[in-house]
Amino acid sequence: MQYQSQRVAKPYFIAAIGLFVGQILFGLVMGLQYVMGDFLFPAIPFNVARMVHTNLLIVWLLFGFMGAAYYLVPEEAERELVSPKLALAMFWIFLVAGALTILGYLFVPYSSLADMTGNSILPTMGREFLEQPTITKLGIVVVALAFLFNIGATILSGRKTAVSLVLLIGLAGLAVMFLFSFYNPDNLVKDKFYWWWVVHLWVEGVWELILGSILAFVLIKTTGVDREVIEKWLYVIIAMTLITGIIGTGHHYYWIGTPAYWKWWGSIFSAMEPIPFFMMTVFAFNMVNRRRRNHPNKAAVLWALGTGVMAFLGAGVWGFLHTLAPVNYYTHGTQITAAHGHMAFYGAYVMIVLTMISYAMPMLRGREAANSNRSQVVEMWGFWLMTVSIVFITLFLTAAGILQVYLQRMSENPLPFMVVQDKLALFYWLREITGVVFLIGLVVYIASFFVGSREPEASVSPAPAEAGA
């Protein structure tokens, strides 16, 4: 670690992992409620668990992005953060606000929470992923502004690199698109229309810039390939992301009451969205194959490669599966969507945050470059357990989804929703069991931070280029 202020990343990473555990626990609760309807009734209803599961996901990913930025920016800008104190203060504000919001979800009926927090003054609550009370949303904006100021000022007054500029654009875009969560028109079509400007333009727009730049940073550090080469890839990837992703929003405008041309625009542009994800996969493998040195942190390289593959599978392949209007006509809002949502979120954003944590945490905890071999082996077990579990969760949900689409929407005698759900119980059980394996993987992953910490650092074997020459 070259700069003292990079240290502020550490609490962000720790909080991220902590909230990740919470997210998974609530996922398991819901998974069980799917097959045992009255589990935890009336303490934690399904809709509350769902809200907690998804909001925790978003919040911990935001913690992860901020931590990644605080670690990455000083090194790229070659100067200390403008204000490490501000970064720490924002950490606590964000953590407390987040915790209070989750507690509010759990212990106060949602409508009372809305009353208590003055939702009627500026109503923004009640929409998927954006359930947070208005004051929490305002808090997020304040934290985001302070954060952007901090890293923006650092980047602009230091060395400007493609990696840090793309990251800055991505993070600024994240904040700007979030502003649409304050727009809550009465017209339901318009409401949905702009809701997607937050949700879709996040994960298939600006977040992809964040993903690309973090991946580029870790690859520069671990492979030693020329920055110039890596930055060119980054430019091509983000250009393609924006060209396809912005109009690709149209794949959510098929059935909400928008004009018909969206069926074409959405289908054509979103069908191209897998391209930048595919490029990312090729990019990661290409750079690792051309590496100039072997980095001792093998776990971080594994996470980076895993991100490339899983993001392409989850977003690219599983996204493409249901993105054309004639297909989406049948699959819209089924378990296919949930399957895709899980693999895409995990493969792209969970994994990139874990990649950065894997790369940075050893240094933040006083290592030269990497953890001990034993710790890395455990971490890689965590990697495989979680990754294989999410693959299976996705496969089970996809199977459930196909069956659901058929029984409910395509067969000669379509069955009602709940009748079909009963018939899918087997897949839901399998999903739940796999979810437990995921949790075990997460525990193993966390354990890797505690094993082998007294042992010496993993050493480097010679790079293939040197060995061959």
Binding site: V229, K232, V236, M240, I243, Y261, W264, I268
Partner: protein, 200 residues
């Protein structure tokens, strides 16, 4: 895939070169762009197959003369760009600047003519929702229109930077990249013009 991003150091004897002029990363971008257009074109053609009457009827309302003018304008711009590259290869940067500006001018002219066509449609009350033909016609041409704007900006930046002495016979990868991008914009129109205006 073996990726040598810098392609200027390759042997100059044509028969031995492996990579196109300009930055290879840009060529990958061009490929991606071309695939979007390929999908768009086929979507047009296959949809037309189901509405032949409708398409012919409304194709007849398009202004073929403007399209002719615009095709010639784009080809001319491409020719100027070729001349700009030739000039910088011979280290004549003042000449390069002139050719680039002429190409920018042509791009501007294209936008004007196309804008005039759009104004006409707008006045006639045509929108994306009027019918499937107009939906395609407007979407396709407008998507291309945006590419002309982008290509024009690229050429403009290149002109300014050449003027400031950034490029020489020895190093002009950016100019070759920009030129390739512009030719791509031209190439797409070369297919779009007959497909939308002429083929009924």
């Amino acid at each position: 895939m073996d990726m040598h991003i810098k392609t200027t150091e390759q042997p100059t004897r044509p028969a031995q070169r492996r990579y196109p002029p300009g930055d290879l990363a840009l060529w990958i971008f061009i490929l991606a762009e071309l695939s979007v257009f390929a999908v768009f074109f086929s979507a047009y053609a296959f949809t037309r197959a189901q509405h032949v009457e409708l398409f012919s009827t409304y194709q007849a309302t398009l202004d073929c003369n403007s399209a002719l003018a615009n095709t010639l304008v784009l080809i001319t711009a491409s020719f100027f760009v070729v001349r700009a590259v030739a000039a910088i290869q011979r280290d004549r940067s003042a000449e390069t600047v002139r050719w680039l500006w002429l190409a920018v001018l042509m791009a501007g002219l294209f936008l004007l003519i196309k804008g005039h066509e759009y104004a006409h449609h707008l006045a006639a009350g045509v929108t994306l929702s009027t019918n499937t033909f107009y939906m395609f016609y407007l979407s396709l041409t407008f998507f291309h229109f945006m590419h002309v704007i982008l290509g024009m900006l690229v050429l403009l930046v290149l002109a300014v930077r050449t003027r400031r002495g950034h490029y020489s016979a020895a190093e002009h990868t950016d100019i070759e990249s920009g030129a390739s991008y512009w030719h791509m914009v031209d190439l797409v129109w070369i297919v779009l013009f007959p497909l939308v205006y002429v083929m009924r």
